[in-house]
């Protein structure tokens, strides 16, 4: 059996068990809650999608709060803050603890408490949106009192983990995973505090006008590129070498990709309002940089491809590698889509259409969530002390998620183009929207079906995860692999190194 580390002794695996045990509480707490929010968000996404082609669906007087204009932001916010950020925090805790090479001495309880407050914050925010407290700022719709709760909870977890990581001796030198994770933990509070102070407080005293919308667009893109992207790529750089048993193909290339991403990402975002009232240089820079971001995306994809090269059979058997592989591929698709949206050449007919929703979903679900699913499938058995119950459930989760998100993104991008073509068609000068509504409606049915697929897959993921968190998994020494014919070829859990 292959191992990544030939000096893997009993002492080291004992130390790993100790590390895992020291972060078990917060990580499993965050995972279980995030899976619940994912389910909630998926249900809301399904309802919102159905309402776009059948507006009378659930249109009862007693359900007045479930109209599309509240359902859609609630769905996106639950997906981002409830699911993606929360599961990302859990994975970040575990990755930093493993990379530090030391068990966490204290602070696990504090992190669980912070996690509780994070969930209280998200719950209040979602109730706030439904109840009429929405700020109508994209991805910042939570009422203004929620953001300090989220920031505090985030900082408690992030500071504790960064402190722990920095104080350990193993942290010297350029270690890809930890630098990606540290960058994400470092950038999110900076971005989030800036935009909330500016938009929710400063703007009321000193009106920002159209520039406020620009800041909002900047937030959406930097959240994707400076929180979700580094965290997701950090996980990719951890799990791909670990499971294939091969070192990252090129560290120089990886380092280049990292600094390209961090250096470029802050300039993007304003291209959402290209042709709009913002000074023209802002969308121009955003559009240009979204093209340049193809460089780090290509670098990462090349590096992951060369690392996995010759080991593609493992994608068949290892659930983690399978999810991470799709996630890492989606990063390339996401960057390509971002570049298409950023220039006038293609963006003129995709601006303000469903294509932007497609871009957000490939980023948050296709790339980030798929990577996180991979991480969850790897981490949970080590923390819960039992193995996943059923390979079939994992396979179902994988295929329904992949088909769901692929159908969703394809429908939204093509539907968005159809919508934009109709709005921009000179022949439609005297009938403003009917063509665009009718052109897109077929694709919206596709979108609803895709959410139904994803809902099915995530329902089973949630049930499966709850069993694991409760310690009701399979008692076995061999991990749950997807194809037992390959089980002798490789067993991920036995190759684990710190």
């Amino acid at each position: 059996m292959e191992t990544t580390d030939t000096t893997d002794t009993d002492g080291e695996s004992l130390r790993r068990v100790e590390i895992d045990r020291s972060v078990k509480g917060p990580v499993l707490f965050l995972f279980a809650n995030s899976a619940m929010w994912l389910l909630a968000s998926t249900v809301m996404g399904l309802f919102a999608s159905v309402k776009l082609f059948a507006p009378n669906f659930l249109d009862y007087d007693c359900l007045w709060f479930l109209n599309y204009a509240r359902l859609q932001p609630a769905h996106m916010n639950a997906l981002i803050y409830g699911w993606a950020m929360q599961v990302g925090l859990g994975v970040a805790i575990w990755l930093l603890a493993r990379r530090s090479g030391r068990p966490l001495s204290s602070g696990a309880g504090m992190m669980v408490t912070a996690g509780v407050f994070w969930n209280i914050g998200v719950t209040l925010g979602i109730i706030g949106i439904f109840g009429g407290g929405s700020t109508s700022l994209q991805w910042l719709e939570f009422p203004a009192f929620v953001w300090p709760v989220l920031v505090m909870a985030f900082l408690i977890i992030a500071i504790r983990m960064v402190q722990h990581y920095m104080s350990s001796s193993a942290s010297n030198g350029f270690t890809l995973t930890s630098h990606y994770v540290l960058a994400a933990l470092f950038c999110f509070p900076w971005i989030y505090i800036t935009v909330n102070l500016l938009l929710n407080h400063y703007a009321l005293q000193a009106p920002l006008g159209a520039f406020g919308a620009g800041i909002n667009a900047w937030y959406v893109n930097t959240l994707i590129l400076l929180f979700f992207a580094p965290l997701g790529l950090g996980a990719c750089y951890y799990f791909i070498p670990k499971i294939t048993g091969q070192p990252v193909y090129s560290y120089q290339l990886a380092q280049l990709g990292f600094w390209c991403l961090i250096g470029l990402a802050g300039w993007t975002g304003m291209q959402k309002y290209m042709g709009g009232p913002l000074p023209a240089w802002m969308p121009a820079i955003g559009g240009m940089v979204s093209l340049l971001l193809l460089v780090p995306a290509g670098v990462v994809a090349l590096n992951h491809h060369l690392t996995t090269y010759g080991k593609h059979a493992l994608i068949e058997s290892s659930p983690t590698l399978r999810f991470v592989f799709v996630g890492s591929f989606s990063f390339l698709v996401m960057s390509a889509l971002g570049a298409l949206l950023g220039t006038f050449w293609t963006g003129a007919s995709m601006q303000f259409t469903y294509a932007e929703y497609g871009f957000h979903l490939i980023a948050i679900y296709g790339f980030f969530s798929m990577t996180m699913f991979g991480a969850v499938y790897y981490i949970v058995p080590r923390l819960a002390g039992c193995e996943w119950l059923s390979a079939r459930l994992i396979r179902n989760h994988f295929w329904f998620s992949v088909y769901g998100i692929a159908a969703l993104v394809v429908c939204m991008v093509i539907g968005g183009m159809a919508q934009g073509q109709s709005v921009n068609n000179p022949e439609n000068w005297n009938q403003s929207m009917v063509g665009s509504v009718k052109n897109a409606s077929g694709y919206l049915i596709g979108r609803a079906l895709a959410w139904a697929f994803i809902l099915f897959s995530n329902f089973w993921f949630f049930i499966h995860l709850v069993f694991m968190v409760l310690g009701l998994g399979r008692r076995s020494v061999s991990p749950t692999l997807l194809h037992h014919a390959h089980a002798d070829h490789h067993a991920p859990s036995s190759t684990a190194t710190v």
Partner: protein
């Protein structure tokens, strides 16, 4: 310097630079933007541009209800195949065939708004100049209450929760909605807009972002 310190400084500079240049400095400079006066001799009109501000109370309802999920408030210029400016009814000229295309939006059009709701998507029509287009407030109330009573293909949600159903007293309320049969309330009842609905409609009618620019559009139109 240890490598972790170098790393933190690197991060700070890499992200701090765009943060400062794209966000902080423009946010401070946005405060310096002032209205421009019209010149009577040159422009033929008096006053300042932009003239009236927006109706903030109604904008709060607009935000709360999430209208910007589907409605933009910005007119794009006519190039790269973008046709906003020549859409019927999207400019100040509401005639059947407008003689001038709508002016593309600029920063000053949103002066005084804490945050302009430029919009997330354009599923419905642009509202930058909705004030010129939607003059009949009673019709706008019917549209908000039952969108499909106005256009059967519309996918806009109805905002019935902003309206009150009440017993008709005397001659009935002058504000009662004139609804088509399938949306009308039971006999003896009428539907009147709540305070919020009125504020929202006032806000939408105040959206007029096609005012002539001092020294530019008016002078050109005179030629």
């Amino acid at each position: 310097m240890t490598s972790s310190k170098k790393f933190i400084y690197g991060l700070g500079i890499c992200f701090g630079l765009p943060w400062l240049i794209m966000i902080i400095i423009p946010a401070l400079k946005a405060q310096k933007l002032m209205p421009l006066p019209y010149d009577k001799d040159r422009d033929g009109v008096e006053g300042i541009y932009p003239g009236a501000g927006i109706y903030r109370q109604g904008q709060l309802v607009y935000a709360r209800e999430g209208c910007s999920q589907c409605h933009t408030q910005m007119i794009r210029p006519s190039f790269a195949g973008m046709m906003d400016a020549t859409k019927k009814g999207w400019s100040s000229d509401q005639s059947e065939i407008p003689s001038e295309p709508a002016r593309s939006s600029n920063m000053r059009d949103y002066l005084g708004e804490p945050i302009a709701f430029l919009g997330v998507q354009r599923t419905g029509p642009d509202l930058a100049n909705a004030g010129y287009r939607l003059k009949d407030k009673a019709a706008m109330h019917v549209h908000l209450y039952a969108p499909r009573a106005v256009s059967e293909w519309s996918i806009m949600p109805g905002f019935r929760h902003l309206y009150v159903t009440q017993v008709i007293q005397g001659n009935g309320s002058p504000d009662a909605l004139d609804l088509p049969k399938e949306y009308a309330p039971k006999k003896g009842f009428e539907i009147v807009p709540s305070l919020e609905a009125n504020e929202l409609v006032n806000y939408i009618s105040s959206l007029k972002k096609d005012a002539p620019l001092p020294g530019q559009v008016v002078a050109e139109a005179k030629k």
